[in-house]
């Protein structure tokens, strides 16, 4: 920053936020993150994407719609 901005920058000094403030704001974010993760999770919520198909084929072939599939 140029020297002629130093005095102006000093005017803008504020105390850092209290830790609780940052935590509370992060809670808002975590709610949004959790909502999105839940919305995109597989219906049974136990398998990671990519691994689901391998474990699934014997019991519930992918070509067959499952009862809890909203698109079925």
């Amino acid at each position: 920053m140029n020297e002629d901005m130093t005095e102006l920058a000093r005017l803008g000094w504020v105390d850092p936020p209290l830790p609780g403030v940052l935590d509370a704001a992060r809670e808002v974010l975590w709610s949004a993150v959790a909502a999105e993760m839940l919305a995109t999770a597989p219906p049974d919520g136990t398998r990671a994407p990519g691994k689901a198909a391998a474990g699934q084929t014997a019991e519930t072939p992918i070509s067959q719609p499952r009862r809890d599939d909203p698109g079925a």
């Binding site: 803008g12 504020v14 850092p16 509370a24 704001a25 949004a32």
Partner: protein, 186 residues
């Protein structure tokens, strides 16, 4: 071997492609800076209330962020600016704030300074307050948030050349006051 640090752009891109939790690291990197942006313009209490709204909006809009940018601050300040505008609009609508004060945080700036500094700074504050709003915004993004003129342009959604010329005009207008302040110091 040292772990390679992901850029903000890479984290945001990853968060938009199936790993939404990657966005949390971006927030942790910039939460103090964004809080400062809000607090400098609207006071600490409003900043306390509005910071979560900035994160919610940023997360919801992250697909629109161009991951080529390594630093997300200009984008986040642009969002924080919109959150502040909405806050001031709502406060004005509820008659909690007189119109001019709602858009002008400068009285709060003076209140935050100790009395000796306030007396010295009053002239500078007056000069900054007298700047056209669009010049003032560029100036403060550079002076307070330490953005480059190009980053300030991104935060405000204006061409870089426009930001540079506004900054140039603002600095030229403040030069006499700043020179006088420097003279008092010596």
């Amino acid at each position: 071997m040292r772990r390679r640090v992901e850029t903000d752009g890479a984290l945001i891109e990853r968060s938009a492609r199936g790993r939404p939790d990657a966005f949390v690291e971006v927030v942790q990197r910039h939460e103090v800076a964004v809080y400062g942006f809000l607090a400098r313009r609207a006071g600490r209490q409003a900043a306390d209330d509005l910071l979560g709204e900035v994160w919610a909006r940023a997360f919801a809009g992250r697909a629109g962020f161009d991951p080529v940018h390594p630093d997300a601050r200009p984008w986040l300040y642009g969002i924080a600016r919109n959150v502040l505008r909405a806050h001031w609009r709502a406060a004005r609508a509820a008659d909690q704030l007189p119109g001019r004060l709602a858009e002008d945080p400068w009285d709060d700036v003076i209140d935050r300074l100790d009395s000796a500094a306030a007396a010295r700074a009053r002239e500078l504050v007056g000069a900054v307050r007298a700047l056209p709003a669009e010049e003032r915004e560029v100036l403060l993004l550079v002076a307070w948030e330490q953005l480059t003129p190009a980053q300030a342009a991104a935060a405000l959604g204006i061409p870089q050349g426009t930001a540079r010329s506004r900054l140039h005009r603002a600095r030229a207008a403040l030069r006499p006051v700043l020179a006088q302040t420097a003279g008092e110091d010596s």
